[in-house]
């Protein structure tokens, strides 16, 4: 599978989806003007991956900040991950960032995927 590698900008996150090396990560800031357009290739990549997924997948979210339009799309990403066997989400947050921790907990209540919480 092709690697999806998007370099982060001041309003979009860094995205690295690499099946071969087992790296699946969304990190940084997400406040694009058009969040649906930005996340479209990510969701397409995940849908393609789901038919040939690795036995286990650890999908990392290491977000510093995201806007509400992105939160809807993050839920769409999680929903796409939901049907993949061996899926686990690792939700990172700054140890003093209660809002980001709570956001992760809320997402974990909305989808049927095991979440692990880690500080960084």
């Amino acid at each position: 599978m092709e690697i999806l590698n998007l370099k982060g900008t001041e309003d979009t996150p860094t995205i690295l989806l690499d099946k071969k090396n087992g790296i699946f990560e969304i990190s940084g800031r997400s406040l694009p003007e058009d969040s649906a357009e930005f996340y479209k290739p990510v969701i397409e990549w995940i849908n393609a991956y789901s038919s040939e997924a690795n036995p286990t997948t650890e999908f990392a979210f290491k977000l510093e900040y995201f806007n509400t339009a992105s939160s809807k799309l993050i839920l769409d990403v999680l929903s796409a991950l939901e049907d993949i066997k061996g899926m686990k989400v690792v939700w990172y947050f700054h140890d003093d960032d209660e809002d980001m921790e709570e956001a992760g907990q809320e997402f974990s209540e909305l989808v049927e995927i095991p979440f692990e919480f880690k500080t960084y």
């Binding site: 001041e10 309003d11 406040l31 969040s35 509400t68 339009a69 839920l75 209660e98 809002d99 809320e106």
Partner: protein
Amino acid sequence: MNYIYDLHRTMMSQKLILVYDGDFTQETTKSILAMAERNLDSSGEESGIKRKVFNVMVEALQNIVKHSSEQGLTAGSLVSKSAIFMISKDDKKYCVMTGNPIPKVHVEKLTGNLNDLNSKDKEGLKEMYKDIIKNTQISEKGGAGLGFVDMARKSGEKLEFAFHSMDAEYDFFCLKVNILREKE
């Protein structure tokens, strides 16, 4: 030229640290955020408060961007599309304030939504947020309908708002979100 000094004095007396008036796009949003962030960083503000202010600013700015583009204001109208964004800071709190024209026909619905939000406690807002995120599609304007809910949650304060009549068709919608600097 008195207004230069008057405006400056108003900014000082109202403790305004940033004012922008004009057209709002994603590009201006990014510039304003960068300026405000530098200001918060250099003042050595606590990171939790800084994040909350940034959060409220993003939602407030993107609300204006979305809603100013949808308005096909008639040519020759005295009502300008331009909106205003400001932040004030004193010992106790930051205030993120916006003002933008909205069609009078939307005032009733918006008032209802904001009053509904303001009647909810922390748990009520959380339920509202989860309900909207589960059941709403992103609108063409890119909005998830979550902006005000998020501002209320992150600030932990009631949203203050008012409308001023501009002409027969438009009201000027003013919003003020307070972010307390002292933890309760």
